[in-house]
Symmetry: C2
Subunit: 185 residues, 2 copies
């Protein structure tokens, strides 16, 4: 059984015009994805932002729910945030996982775009259930991870589709659906 | 093939202490659930709130994305919001669906709590694919729909579980997962 890690990348990502930008950390990305990560038994949820002010903002938001009033008011939220870590960049994420696991994770990019060489949900689900190597799922904010970054990952998950051609989901919805496809009952 | 409708109920719902309250309409509930509804081919997404000021707020937010600047800036969002309707209460929702379909919908409650008589995702998925009667999925904000309201619906969907006991998902995440379980590829 593989441990699963998740990283939410705020930079570098695309904006709507396919320019490379940094997006802001948003309150509900912290909450919703922490709660999903806890529901689906993830080992850790990394929030990745290169700007120190943004990392401090995330820590302040989570601090409210982890200590004092917020923690008493809603212990479920405290539990969810206990697995969140803030990181400056992906190298810091890789180093943390390697320190915990002794090996580097299998890096799995997610993207709404189609890539030639994608892994299916069914295949990755079986890999998680039968292999030991930790898995790191990477999600981009904004209009997604840079093409060159996606292509250098070990695997690329197929895009999410329903019965329509429309696949403009929020990253929060995409995380929920992907974790359910990989680990839902 | 059944048409699917979704209603997000802001009142009456429970708060954390199981008191009956109204919650506020939030921007990301509009966006995320409209985008999910479009991805999974739903017929309509009703946002239900008894307070006129709240309904006007929702209309103002959506108006930005449906006309003028927002519509030009992001046509995907315009498309998503084209299927959203604001309603005062469930009777208004039922009447709208009956006017469109000529029959009342099968009302399916969703809840994180366990009820004795629940329908599985697999069963409801087959019903949608093989029957004609429209389906209305009901989601509560806050800490969920009132027990007495859930119990008077035609069916109750089983709660969402991953491999853990934790099932404190946001309503946004729950909608994404449930639509994917019912209509995902």
């Amino acid at each position: 059984m593989a441990d699963i890690y998740l990283a939410l990348i705020h930079a570098p990502v695309y904006n709507k015009n396919m320019e490379t930008v940094a997006t802001s950390i948003t309150n509900l990305d912290l909450h919703d994805i922490a709660r999903c990560s806890t529901t689906y038994g993830l080992k850790r949820y990394f929030v990745v932002h290169p700007a120190e002010a943004q990392r401090l903002l995330a820590k302040r938001i989570m601090g409210f729910w982890q200590e004092g009033y917020g923690a008493d008011y809603n212990p479920d939220r405290q539990e969810a945030f206990s697995r969140v870590k803030i990181a400056m960049n992906l190298n810091e994420v890789y180093a943390e996982i390697e320190a915990e696991q002794g090996v580097t994770p299998v890096k799995v990019a997610t993207d709404a775009r189609k890539y030639a060489n994608t892994v299916t949900y069914a295949q990755l689900r079986v890999d998680i259930e039968t292999k030991e190597a930790p898995i790191l799922l990477l999600f981009g904010t904004g209009w997604g991870l840079l093409k060159e970054d996606v292509e250098q990952m070990d695997q690329i998950l197929e895009p999410i589709y329903g019965p329509t051609d429309y696949n403009h989901l929020s990253v929060r919805s995409a995380v929920a659906i992907i974790l359910d496809r990989l680990r839902g009952h």
